[in-house]
Symmetry: C2
Subunit: 368 residues, 2 copies
């Protein structure tokens, strides 16, 4: 089940304000989806995420397939029940992880043979197998199995990945049965506009309810990413949700929304938290720095989250230095809140017709 | 500020039901105090602990003195404010940690020279210095600086520790100024009844508002601990709270209460959680065991905590195997809840005059 309605399209840029209705409720778009790789958004409970305002999270098929296995999750009643999450979930297809995390053994049109990054065991994933896994996990949105070419790569390699992604997208669509789960196609093509156009065109023929833009934020300059988004804008169906995979940083969310993106996900808020870094509207704050030893102000005085209302930089720095897990937990909470709330502000700006000014204000304050 | 009132003394054993009024509110006794060594009960927020029902926590002077330092905590407005905890705190004196954690350099009647377990730096703690630190931390209950003899040790060594503990208790009492902080004496004497009696007698002369029993649960057989408690019962002032330091396991709480103990603390609930083990009314459950891979029941079907209401053993085991921090957090929550609620049940049993039956029922179910 998927319904997508666009309420406002910005007259100044390509931003859209909309609503996505999924099997576990409606979410407003553009939206940021926190990442729960191994059936948990690291350190946080579902209740924390409800409080933060997250309406949909992402989980990783590659990780869940390897551990604990999709059969176990299915026996638990599906991923929602297994992890006690009552709102929406999107599962990626494992395509990106097979190419980035595992030891790749062999790739053919049939599928991918790889070795687990956990125990070295050998596995073979095909589009049909991935559909089986994703349907057993039972997320509200599933992604097609795709081949994500690295950056940099030759035109020929990128072309081969596009063709295979199209072939696999067809097979995924044919193998997909769950009516309570929406299946999205993934546009590949690396930094080559012609290939992006070809990939988009071929996927549109398959008529997916939503389209992801894959293979970006994999090392290419940000300017390349923005150009690809600009280029893809008129090619993608205007009435379908657009999801920019694995992105992004606060600035990417703003630049992406201005280029018509409706959905984002990124592991950075929880990863930065583990390294003692917090987002603020003035840039990233390395809380572990000695400068904050006696700083009794909150992480961000403009933030009204649970952490900023109750804890000082000095206390958080103490927790980091003392290697206390509560440091990861509190910084994760703040960072996820920061991005979820940034999207609330972005949506309000679209609603009020002043996204351009919001963007200018943001970039005048935010230090890189 | 400290008021202690005993409402019921059990006619069948030495258990007492009472109320302890401290600067940050009243708590019912007997009570279990979760341990927040480094100004955090590992993985949990104050709100978690309020929900669990904790009214007083313990924090460690030795750790906070070394990191972040009592001056920083004082600048933050004291330990309560620093860590965002609105209920009561007890700080130990660092005596036990100096002897168990640090590299001990020299001990004399004047004080203890030791090397930090963190960076090897040299420090010298005297009773006066410890009082200065504890008053800067600003807990509701502070402990006298004591010498904790190891187990096993000779009568002569234990005797020297008792005499020094008495000498230091006098100096602590003389150096202590804060009227919003209650200072407790610590009875030492190892497993020697004569020394326990001497220590108790000498401390009573100093008229502390509460007395701790130190130097137990340091390796001696449990039977020795219970015998010392039985022996001390008639010697300690009946109208003052009695605190058994660093104890204990569920069975110790029951046995301790039956021997007149009013207060307990122990790091085990959070430490066991880090090792993937959970308390249940049928004994400890090693959640990480393969036996629970497909067990979709809660940790303890008799437990109504947040974790048992929402998560299965299979999910918790998955989190443990995947090395997810949420595993520590959820198991810590459950284990602390288990001990705090065990004390609620014990208090109810005293109130209803059936502690003996409660104890029999507990031990008939609990497997060691």
């Amino acid at each position: 089940m998927l319904k997508f309605e666009i309420d406002i399209t910005s007259p100044h840029n390509k931003a859209r304000l909309g609503r996505l209705t999924l099997s576990h409720g409606e979410v407003e778009t553009p939206i940021f989806m926190p990442v729960g790789t191994q059936a948990t958004v690291k350190t946080l409970t579902p209740e924390d995420l409800y409080e933060i305002g997250a309406g949909i999270i992402l989980s990783n098929t590659y990780h869940l397939y390897l551990r604990p296995g999709e059969e176990l999750v299915a026996k638990a009643g599906g991923l929602h029940k297994f992890m006690n999450w009552k709102r929406n979930i999107l599962t990626d297809s494992g395509g990106f992880q097979v190419f980035s995390l595992s030891k790749l053994r062999k790739i053919s049109d049939e599928g991918v043979e790889f070795q687990s990054h956990i125990d070295g065991s050998r596995h073979f994933l095909t589009p049909e197998k991935v559909m089986d896994i994703e349907q057993k996990l039972g997320a509200d949105i599933a992604m097609c199995f795709d081949e994500c070419a690295p950056y940099p790569c030759s035109f020929e390699d990128a072309e081969r990945a596009v063709d295979r992604t199209t072939l696999w997208a067809k097979r995924c669509r044919d193998a997909h049965r769950r009516s309570d789960q929406a299946l999205f196609g993934i546009v590949q093509g690396n930094v080559f506009p012609d290939l992006r156009a070809r990939s988009t065109e071929e996927l549109i023929k398959l008529d997916f309810p939503g389209y992801a833009i894959g293979g970006l934020s994999v090392g290419e300059p940000k300017q390349n990413m923005y150009e690809i988004l600009d280029y893809l804008h008129p090619l993608l169906p205007a009435d379908k949700p657009r999801y920019l995979m694995g992105v992004g940083e606060p600035e990417d969310l703003i630049e992406g929304v201005k280029r018509g993106v409706d959905m984002f996900d990124c592991v950075l808020p929880t990863r930065l938290a583990r390294h003692g870094t917090a987002y603020t509207y003035r840039g990233k704050l390395t809380v572990r720095n000695a400068a904050y030893r006696e700083d009794f102000t909150p992480i961000d005085s403009h933030c009204d989250c649970y952490v900023c209302r109750n804890y000082s930089r000095a206390y958080l720095r103490h927790l980091i230095k003392a290697e206390e897990i509560l440091a990861h937990r509190l910084l994760s909470y703040h960072n996820v809140y920061f991005l979820v709330q940034l999207m609330v502000k972005i949506r309000n700006a679209i609603r009020e017709g002043n996204l351009e000014r919001f963007s200018e204000d943001f970039f005048s304050e935010y230090r890189f």
